[in-house]
């Protein structure tokens, strides 16, 4: 088994390099890359390199002064940094975990024979299409502890609801739940595609062997929808790690600092006019995200080749 894998992936690699050679001999000149390269360079590479320089300065928008690595020192000493790193991690894991579980459940439901399947599919997907800021502001109103619709409805059945966004221990989780509500449609879509692509023969064979619905799910859907699972996890983890807009629209990191994530800490430093410091923060964020995403995407690509 191992040999096959090695053999197969080796062959894939040689295929890829063969494709590369063909491309090198293509009739089109490399100058065709130029327009894209200029745009990429001006809008991405140059600002990135300049950002590395400005992260070493005390920059007040009107002038800048070179101060070495002081910004990085200040950034790592930031009291909000440790808590915000933790919040970012909690948020990313919570949202991507829930999206996997709920997305898979909804996808199972929406690929089975139920009434109004097409309609339900669009209902589940609809929140993905709505602007994040709009969703955030709407839920801020709905989650108001005294006058919000959610707690007023809970009052009707005799439950006094918590301060969703004002209770320090709940605020981050509440925002995470809204993120899940908004993002689960995409996860469901990916799972539906994954489940639909499983050949019917497996289910037929399983039926002959006397398998029930649970066995179908456990031994056919779950392993064969694995590429979908990997995609959902990676996408929602990246989304969770760099999440900012929803948190800013709903709590601005509050109450106090209890729902601050790295991105909102950096944004607040920028708002306060500490441009050098916030640029240093962005460089750190860039490195952290790269350090997480590079191995992850390699992992993902290897899986794709094996499957």
């Amino acid at each position: 088994m191992a040999t096959t894998t090695v053999h197969r992936s080796a062959r894939t690699r040689s295929d890829a390099s063969a494709a590369g050679r063909v491309r090198a001999h293509s009739p089109y000149t490399n100058w065709f890359y130029l327009p894209a390269a200029v745009i990429y360079g001006v809008l991405f590479l140059v600002p990135t390199v300049i950002a590395f320089y400005f992260s070493l300065t005390r920059w007040s928008i009107f002038d800048s002064k070179f101060i070495g690595f002081d910004n990085y020192k200040t950034f790592f000493q930031e009291p909000a940094l440790v808590s915000s790193l933790w919040h970012t991690l909690v948020y990313a894991v919570l949202t991507s975990g829930l999206k996997v579980v709920l997305g898979l459940g909804l996808a199972m439901l929406l690929t089975s024979q139920i009434i109004g399947r097409g309609y339900l599919r669009s209902v589940v997907f609809f929140p993905v299409l709505v602007s994040t800021i709009g969703v955030g502001l709407t839920f801020t109103v709905l989650m108001n502890p005294e006058r919000g619709l959610i707690n007023q409805s809970l009052d009707l059945v005799g439950i006094s609801g918590p301060g969703w966004l004002t209770d320090p221990s709940l605020a981050l989780i509440s925002v995470g739940l809204v993120d899940v509500w908004k993002g689960v449609g995409l996860a469901t879509l990916i799972y539906i595609a994954g489940i639909v692509s499983i050949p019917q023969e497996y289910f037929e064979a399983a039926r002959v062997d006397g398998a029930g619905a649970w066995d179908n799910f456990r031994h056919i859907v779950l392993p064969l929808a694995r590429p979908a699972t990997v995609t959902v996890i990676i996408l929602s983890l990246i989304g969770g790690l760099r999440s900012f807009d929803l948190i800013w629209a709903m709590t601005k990191g509050g109450p106090g600092f209890t729902s601050d994530v790295i991105a909102s800490v950096i944004y607040k430093q920028y708002q306060a006019g500490f441009y050098g410091l916030s640029t240093a923060g962005n460089v750190v964020l860039f490195l952290v995200v790269t350090a997480i995403i590079l191995p992850l995407s390699r992992f993902l690509n290897r899986k794709e080749v094996e499957l």
Partner: protein
């Protein structure tokens, strides 16, 4: 066929040329054509009372100067607004006239580089010295006052006080004793509104007069990194007060989500008894709750010494001209600023919105029909029982104070830890400004 084709082309070209021409001439009359007409833009924040004052000033000024047209623009308040102002100044894209804070925030704009000095402008000599020092850099004046002086103090409902037979507290202990009685009377003693985070800072910022009483040199030492909130008992007291109020359960139940308008309503209707806030909010209080002008009074945030019961005063915001405004527009802008700094300008502002404190222009009066809170405030200023707030005496102000105060007032962080955290926060600002000793 061919001639027709050419004709169409000609027609199209001609009409394009015509449109271009008319657009061009429109543009030039917009700027400063031969007829002496000038259009300038005027930027202020999006507070509800601000717009009324801004519109009235523009209306009264343009009535007298028909050749000048003023277009108004609004910006967000708070840190978003700070950012917008700095970005537009640094890109040379600022409106011809703009309204912004005086004091430490004004200093952060690098006025000598970005603003036009008003030395030769008419009426500048009429301005109160207490105000001009907060809009000056290296001896040059850059702004004229928008509105009047404000106080950071406690607004209180006089009906509640009368009903419970309470005296205005002169020390913090008196204040807490009052709170106990108010709570027993079924009224929320202290209104807090963390739905708008800036409102959380008053117990600290409005307490500065007491710090100043304890050590008149404190602001200077603080700027030089020789005094700290965490290690000065008088300064730490502000954070401690906020914690006390929360620990004793004296806040309104919805303090975490309530907004400024809610807080003002609670105060006006007697649902809450006392609201530490800027006195400038009195105009919104009255606009939102008609009839509350005589029901709400004001007293300074009490300290330890009843004999030294002083009020912390804020200098008015300024109206400035950026250095990117030149030529005929600069002339027009200076004329407009001279109008704002005249008695006519004060009258115009009084027409638009209830005055909330004495004007910084000599010869201007707030009139007889001022709200009770402003009368109370005037008493302290006239008798010299007042001190400017720290942000007008030192350029050092940390950006995270609002969040830290919300944490203390919500019981998330204790007072001494909060003071330490704020000292750290302030360090970044001082380093950014390049102050010595940090």
């Amino acid at each position: 066929m061919r001639t027709r084709h050419i004709a169409i082309t000609l027609l199209a070209t001609a009409s394009m040329a015509l449109t271009a021409c008319s657009a061009g001439s429109l543009g030039s009359s917009d700027d400063s054509g031969g007829d002496g007409k000038v259009t300038i833009s005027f930027l202020y924040d999006n507070g509800s009372e601000t717009a009324k004052i801004g519109d009235q000033l523009v209306k009264d000024f343009t009535a007298k100067n028909p050749n000048i047209t003023i277009k108004t623009e609004t910006r967000p308040q708070g840190t978003d607004g700070d950012n917008l102002i700095k970005t537009r100044l640094s890109t040379g894209d600022m409106s011809d006239v703009f309204m912004y804070n005086s004091g430490s925030l004004f200093q952060a704009l690098a006025p000598e580089k970005n603003l036009a000095p008003l030395g030769d402008t008419e009426n500048i000599g009429n301005l109160d010295k207490n105000f001009t020092t907060t809009v000056s850099s290296n001896g040059k004046i850059y702004g004229v006052p928008w509105g009047g002086f404000m106080a950071g103090a406690i607004l209180y409902n006089k009906d509640v006080y009368a009903k419970l037979g309470l005296q205005i507290p002169k020390t913090w202990d008196d204040f807490m004793a009052n709170n106990a009685q108010i709570k027993a009377g079924g009224v929320d003693p202290v209104i807090q509104t963390y739905g708008e985070t800036w409102t959380s800072q008053l117990f600290i910022l409005g307490d500065y007069a007491n710090v100043n009483t304890a050590d008149p040199q404190w602001a200077e030492k603080y700027t030089k990194n020789q005094a700290k909130y965490a290690t000065t008992p008088a300064a730490l007291a502000g954070f401690q007060h906020l914690q006390d109020v929360h620990d004793k359960g004296y806040e309104n139940k919805d303090f975490a989500s309530a907004k400024l308008t809610d807080g003002l309503r609670y105060l006006a209707t007697g649902k809450g008894a006392q609201y530490p806030i800027l006195s400038a909010m009195v105009s919104q209080l009255i606009a939102d709750n008609p009839g509350s002008e005589d029901k709400v009074g004001l007293f300074p945030i009490p300290g330890t010494d009843a004999a030294q019961n002083k009020l912390t005063v804020w200098s008015p915001n300024g109206v400035y001209i950026p250095s990117s405004t030149t030529g005929a527009k600069l002339e027009a802008a200076k004329k407009f600023l001279a109008f704002i700094a005249s008695t006519d300008g004060c009258n115009s502002q009084t027409t638009a919105s209830t005055p909330t404190g004495p004007y910084a222009v000599k010869g201007c009066t707030v009139g007889d029909k001022v709200p009770q809170a402003v009368k109370d405030m005037q008493g302290f200023i006239d008798s010299g029982q007042s001190s400017l707030a720290l942000e007008f005496l030192s350029p050092v102000k940390g950006p995270a104070l609002e969040q830290i105060c919300v944490e203390v007032g919500s019981g998330i962080r204790k007072a001494d830890a909060a003071a330490k955290l704020y000292d750290e926060d302030v360090k970044k600002q001082a380093q950014q400004l390049g102050l010595e000793g940090w």
